[in-house]
Chain length 386, copies 2
């Protein structure tokens, strides 16, 4: 199968970007990625977006963004898998190149949340859950996460501040990421004193909804410009797996099975084992998701994932660095753009462009894009060639 | 590249299906398709849907429908390109098989429009247009089509009933399709006397929004069951092309450039010329779309597409049969399911299962899934092997 390489990356800052619209936001990331690729011209555009039809009354982003980027005539389509929409777009781009059907693919994730008030956004986010059996009862993603965290703390005897390390790590790393929403480290005491949002979740257990756009250009190795300036990053593995939307349909509430399945398949395709992974960009929309993802992928045994956050194992110099640019918690959670941010950040790590957040000798990065509580999990292994 | 074959087809009736929910509707089509394939088990599910997040408060259909179909763990994602969402899902399924990454793919299109009142649906459909420059002014798809039709009639001196043949043909063909919404032929006088909806469009120029679901199972030729019961239908060509959303951004209002581009590319991949196409399933959401699609693909010269509807050329025994199972106009327009209905209907034609609507010696079918006024056009060539 054709080798799929990342030829260009681009991203906008993440935050409350009230002075810029959806198409302009996407365009900024696209033009940065195209420039970074040395000017490759895509034949296909895959958009990751979750809620523009709801929050901006704008569906049909494929054609809209292709036009706005001066690419009328190319293939363009939107991928949606709730919070995993960005990962889904990346995977379709990967498939298009790997199949040999497309020479150059543009993947862009874009989301505009903050034009609406918080309760509208929360209601829109609840469309990621089971509308007929969960949302109709008032259940939201935050409500789901609170139940998971409470059960986890009960079963595994986690102390009150047991999850603090996830937020502390994310905020520490975001300081070095100029695109991050919250570039400010926090202290353990800040976490402890934070207000509860939905008990036991406090505001530092929850990633902030935000606006943002990120883009990557994918191509085959032989189509790269001759003077390509960076160490070569390729997508060595890609896999996607689905689980139930509703928590009451799960056999085991505290087992993110789709995270295990998709990571396992992606590693198999890449021909690597867990120990070879240099860093892990997980989908820490809630700190409990971080713990459960670490366990599902195999970095911790069942019930022990939370301890990796407390003992420094997920720090930049730890055993398995996570959220190396701030993660969802501190870089911010721009919905369907998130999975593409992960790809951009991982590619920067592997190229050696991560500045003060650089992980030494990073060779393989695992990125995991998640919709709902691991209802959709899309995993990619990025690899830098010697 | 791997040969992609249609191993199974399934569909529900199209109409106002108030007694059945979104997931049950999709399931009915899926189970029919799986049964038709001899029980193949998909590893990937590609959903075509346009408005469930808006109209049913349900995003994340991939994981939802995979779970409901007993397929937890597989890949599952939704494709959105407004009215072309079904074609987009079909194309991703095609790509997944052609790349060799997936052995068996399930493509399902599903839409549930009629739980909401018409004005809500029209507002939701307007998200397919340019929200910031068209919809905000009150522009809807019907308004766009009225402007196109008026301009077309003016430029090409089309008489008042010049478009009648599109509706007459569609309704005539729907009589023989047990899944169609309107199984009733209409007379020329019925068209002439019909109320105007948005001048010059009357109600017979507009396809009815409807509920429905359709599904196909795709696989490689060598994975078909040994006792596969039908003539073999393969996807010989696939292409997708985007144009502007807003009409005011077009160079030529009356030229569906993306329809030409995607059909041309799909034919090139299939290695055929226009004359070899046995029938054309166009996206006749409005009769003017039918005329412009016939011209764009090359069946009529600029300004003359409407005449094919009047002189019998698009009838079942005509030069280029269109809407052979009733098209959007009379089978009904179930949003993002429409493109998958086209694939199911074309496969049935090529297998010789079209009953009283059977076209003799059909060898190649062109199906065209469209979002907005040809803002996204996804074309597939289906071919039956000897």
């Amino acid at each position: 199968m054709t080798e799929v390489v990342i030829a260009g990356i681009g991203q906008t800052e993440v935050g409350e970007l009230w002075d810029i619209g959806l198409r302009e936001l996407a365009f900024d990331a696209i033009s940065e990625a195209v420039k970074d690729s040395g000017g490759l011209r895509p034949q296909s555009l895959f958009v990751g977006n979750m809620l523009a039809p709801n929050l901006s009354n704008q569906a049909h982003l494929g054609a809209l963004l292709a036009d706005y980027a001066g690419l009328v005539g190319i293939e363009a389509v939107t991928l949606e898998a709730a919070g995993a929409s960005g990962g889904a777009a990346l995977r379709e781009g990967y498939m298009a190149i790997a199949s040999g059907m497309v020479d150059v693919a543009l993947v862009v994730g874009v989301e505009k949340f903050t034009d609406k008030i918080g309760s509208d956004v929360e209601a829109a986010l609840a469309t990621a859950g089971d509308a007929d059996f969960e949302a109709v009862q008032g259940m939201t993603p935050t409500g789901q996460a609170a139940m998971l965290m409470k059960r986890y703390m009960h079963e595994h005897h986690v102390p009150a501040d047991g999850f603090a390390g996830f937020a502390l790590t994310a905020h520490t790393n975001a300081v070095g990421n100029k695109y991050a929403m919250f570039r400010k480290a926090i202290k353990p005491g800040t976490y402890s004193k934070a207000e509860k949002v939905s008990e036991p979740l406090n505001m530092f257990d929850i990633a902030p909804t935000a606006d943002g756009a990120a883009a990557v250009i994918l191509t085959r190795r032989d189509l790269l410009p001759k003077d390509f300036a960076y160490p070569l990053v390729k997508i060595a593995g890609s896999a996607s797996s689905a689980d139930t939307l509703a928590l009451h349909d799960r056999k085991d509430l505290l087992y993110f099975e789709a995270a295990q399945l998709s990571a396992g398949k992606a590693m198999k395709k890449a021909g690597i084992i867990l120990d070879q992974i240099s860093f892990f960009e997980y989908h820490d929309m809630f700190s409990i998701y971080g713990a459960l993802a670490l366990e599902a992928v195999g970095f911790a045994i069942h019930g022990q994932g939370w301890k990796l956050a407390g003992d420094g194992a997920i720090g930049l110099k730890g055993r398995i660095p996570c959220a190396t640019q701030g993660g969802l918690k501190a870089r911010g959670f721009p919905g369907g753009a998130t999975g593409v941010y992960q790809a951009v950040e991982a590619a920067a790590q592997l190229r050696g462009q991560a500045g003060m957040n650089q992980i030494a000798n990073a060779k393989y990065g695992l990125i995991q894009s998640m919709g709902g509580p691991a209802s959709t999990v899309i995993s990619h292994i990025l690899e830098v060639s010697e």
